[in-house]
Amino acid sequence: MSTTRANASPDQIVVSDALKIYGGSGSSAQVTALSHVDLTVDRGQFVSIIGPSGCGKSTLLRLIAGLETADSGDVSVFGADPDQACAAKMIGFVPQVPALLPWLSVVGNVTLPSKVNRRADALRRTLPGHVHRDPADPRALLAKIGLGDALDRLPHQLSGGMQQRVAIARAFAIQADVLLMDEPFSALDEFTREAIQLQLLELWEQMRTTVVFVTHSVSEAVVLSDRVVVMSARPGRIEAVVDIDLPRPRRQGLLESAAMHEYEDLIRGKLQTAWASGPVAR
C-alpha cells in the first residue's frame, strides 16, 4: 500500500466512501454497518460523532484506528493509511471501558504505551503527517487531570471516573496525532461526567490534539466539539454535519447559554430526521 494517495492530505483524517459489511457474503445475517460514509477531520479539530446505537459509530472509529478494514472506500490518517499510523503510534485509542491493566499502578498504566513498539519513533519521523511534540511527562499529565495524588494506586482502588481519566491520560501520553474515543463517559454518572468533560477540554486545549469522539449525548457533543457529525442507522451513514461556533475556552457558564441550547435543539432535530428516515423504524 502506498503512503501517499490522491485524496490523502497530511493535515486531515479522510474517510471516503467507506463501506463496511459484517457477516459473510450471501449469508442472511449480513449487517451493513457503514455505507457511503465520507468524513473529513482537520488537524487540531475536536469532532464528535453522534447517532442512535447500532448506527456504526464504533465501526467508523475502528476503521480509523486500523482495528478493522473497510470493504470498500478509503481511510487515511494524516496522509498515512491506518496501519502505518498505528505502527507510528499516531493514534491513541480510548475505549468505552477504561481497559487498564489491573496489576499496574496509575503511573505504570500511563507509561506502558511508551514502552511498547519502540520502533514507532523512527517511523514517525518519516511520515509527513506526524507533527513532533516532546514526550509528555506522565506525572504532570496525571496531575493536570486531577490524579496527582493517586499516582501509585492500583486501578481497583479508583472510582470509575478516575479510571477513565487514567485511560485518557494514557492516550494523551504518547503524543498521538489523533485521539479516538468511543463513548468514554457513557458509564459515568452525570456529575462525574460533566467534571471529566471539562478536564478533557482543558487538557485538549493545552495539547491541541485532534480528537474524534463518539457519544450518544447531545449536550456532551455540543460542549466538546468544533463539529458534530450526526449518523443514522441501517445502513449506517452520515446524516448531517453541524459546525459548533461557540467561543473557546468553554467553561461551566456555557452549559446554560442560549446558544448552546440552540445547537442542541438543532442536533436533536437532525437525529429525529435520522431516526425517521431509517428504513426500519423501531
Binding site: 498505528c86 468505552q96 471501558v97 481497559a99 491493566l101 489491573p102 514507532a120 481497583h156 472510582s159 458509564a187
Partner: protein, 313 residues
C-alpha cells in the same frame, strides 16, 4: 460498586461483539471447550478462597478463627477412636499411629522427603512443559490443532494405569515417578494457563493493537500477567495432585524403592496398619503445608487481583 458492575457488563458485551476482530484470539472455541473441565476446578478453588480474602487482617489468635478448626479436628478424632476401639484390625488407634511416628521419626522424615522431592521435581517438569505448550497453543492456531487433541487424549488416559508400564521401561529409579507426576499435573496447568492467557479483555487488546505492540510484547506485558490468577488456581489443584502422582508411582515399584508410597504398600502387605496410617498422615500434612504455602504466595503476588475475587464472590 454498581458502577463497576455496569462497566463490566459493557466490557463483556463488547467482547461478544468484537469476537470477529482480526487481533482477537479467534477460534479459541476448541481450547475453551476443552478447558471446561480444567477450569471448573480452578473456579471452585478461587471462590473457595474468597471469604477469607475479604478479611485479610484477621488475627490467628481470635477464637472465631481457630476454634472451628480445633473443634472439627476433635470431633473427627473422637469419631476415629470410637470406630477404632472395636475394630483395631481395620483402624489403628490414634495413639498407635503417634507411637509409630515417635519411635522412628527419621524413617518417616526420610521417606517423606523422598516422596516430596519426587512430587516437586515432577511438578516443576509438568509445569514448565504445560506452560510452554500453553503459550505455543495460544500463539499458533495450527499448532493448537495439532497439539490439543494429543493433550486431551493424554488427559483421559488414566496415568495410574501407565505407572506399572513406566516402571517396566525405566526401572525402580526416580524416572518413572517423575514422569507420572509430571503427566498428572500437566493437563490442569495447561488448561488453566490457556484460559489465563486468553483472559485479556478485548478493549485492552484494542488499545495495544492501535499501538502496534508486538506479539511478544502482548504476551509478556498483557497475557502472562493476566494468566497469573489462573496459574495460582492451577497450582492449588496440582500441588496435592503431584503427591498423588508420586505415591501412585511408588506403589507400582515397591520393595526396591523408597518413599511414603513404598512404605504404605510394604506395611500394608505386612498388615502393619499403624505404619500405613502414619505414612498417610505424613502425606496429608505434606499436602496441607504445600497448599498453605501456595495460598500465601498467591496473596502476595495477586494483590492487584483482590477486587476481582471480591466481585466474583
Amino acid at each position: 460498586m454498581t458502577n463497576h458492575a455496569v462497566r463490566n457488563d459493557a466490557a463483556r458485551s463488547d467482547a461478544a461483539r468484537n469476537a470477529a476482530l482480526p487481533l482477537d484470539t479467534t477460534d479459541t472455541a476448541i481450547a475453551t471447550a476443552a478447558t471446561a473441565s480444567g477450569t471448573a476446578a480452578a473456579a471452585t478453588s478461587v471462590s473457595r478462597s474468597t471469604p477469607r480474602r475479604s478479611n485479610p487482617r484477621r488475627s490467628i489468635l481470635r477464637p472465631t478463627i481457630w476454634l472451628p478448626v480445633v473443634v472439627a479436628l476433635l470431633v473427627a478424632g473422637v469419631l476415629w477412636e470410637l470406630i477404632a476401639i472395636n475394630n483395631t484390625y481395620l483402624l489403628p488407634r490414634l495413639g498407635m499411629i503417634g507411637q509409630a511416628i515417635i519411635t522412628q521419626p527419621s524413617f518417616y522424615l526420610e521417606n517423606a522427603w523422598i516422596t516430596l522431592s519426587e512430587a516437586l521435581i515432577g511438578l516443576v517438569i509438568g509445569f514448565v512443559a504445560a506452560f510452554i505448550v500453553a503459550v505455543i497453543v495460544t500463539e499458533s492456531g495450527i499448532l493448537r490443532r495439532a497439539i490439543m487433541p494429543l493433550a486431551v487424549v493424554l488427559n483421559v488416559t488414566p496415568v495410574v494405569a501407565i505407572a506399572p508400564a513406566l516402571v517396566v521401561a525405566f526401572g525402580f529409579g526416580p524416572a518413572p515417578k517423575l514422569i507420572v507426576t509430571a503427566l498428572i499435573t500437566f493437563f490442569p496447568i495447561l488448561m488453566n494457563v490457556i484460559t489465563g492467557l486468553n483472559s485479556v479483555s478485548p478493549p485492552i487488546l484494542q488499545v495495544f493493537a492501535t499501538l502496534r505492540a508486538s506479539r511478544l510484547e502482548v504476551l509478556t506485558r498483557l497475557r502472562l500477567p493476566s494468566s497469573l490468577p489462573y496459574v495460582f488456581a492451577a497450582l492449588k489443584v496440582v500441588f496435592p495432585l503431584s503427591i498423588v502422582g508420586a505415591v501412585v508411582a511408588e506403589f507400582s515399584a515397591p520393595g526396591a524403592a523408597k518413599g511414603l508410597g513404598t512404605v504404605i504398600s510394604v506395611a500394608s502387605s505386612n498388615s502393619r496398619l499403624a505404619v500405613v496410617y502414619a505414612a498417610i498422615l505424613c502425606l496429608a500434612i505434606m499436602g496441607a503445608v504445600l497448599l498453605f504455602l501456595v495460598t500465601l504466595l498467591e496473596k502476595r503476588v495477586l494483590r492487584w487481583h483482590e477486587s476481582q475475587l471480591l466481585k466474583r464472590g
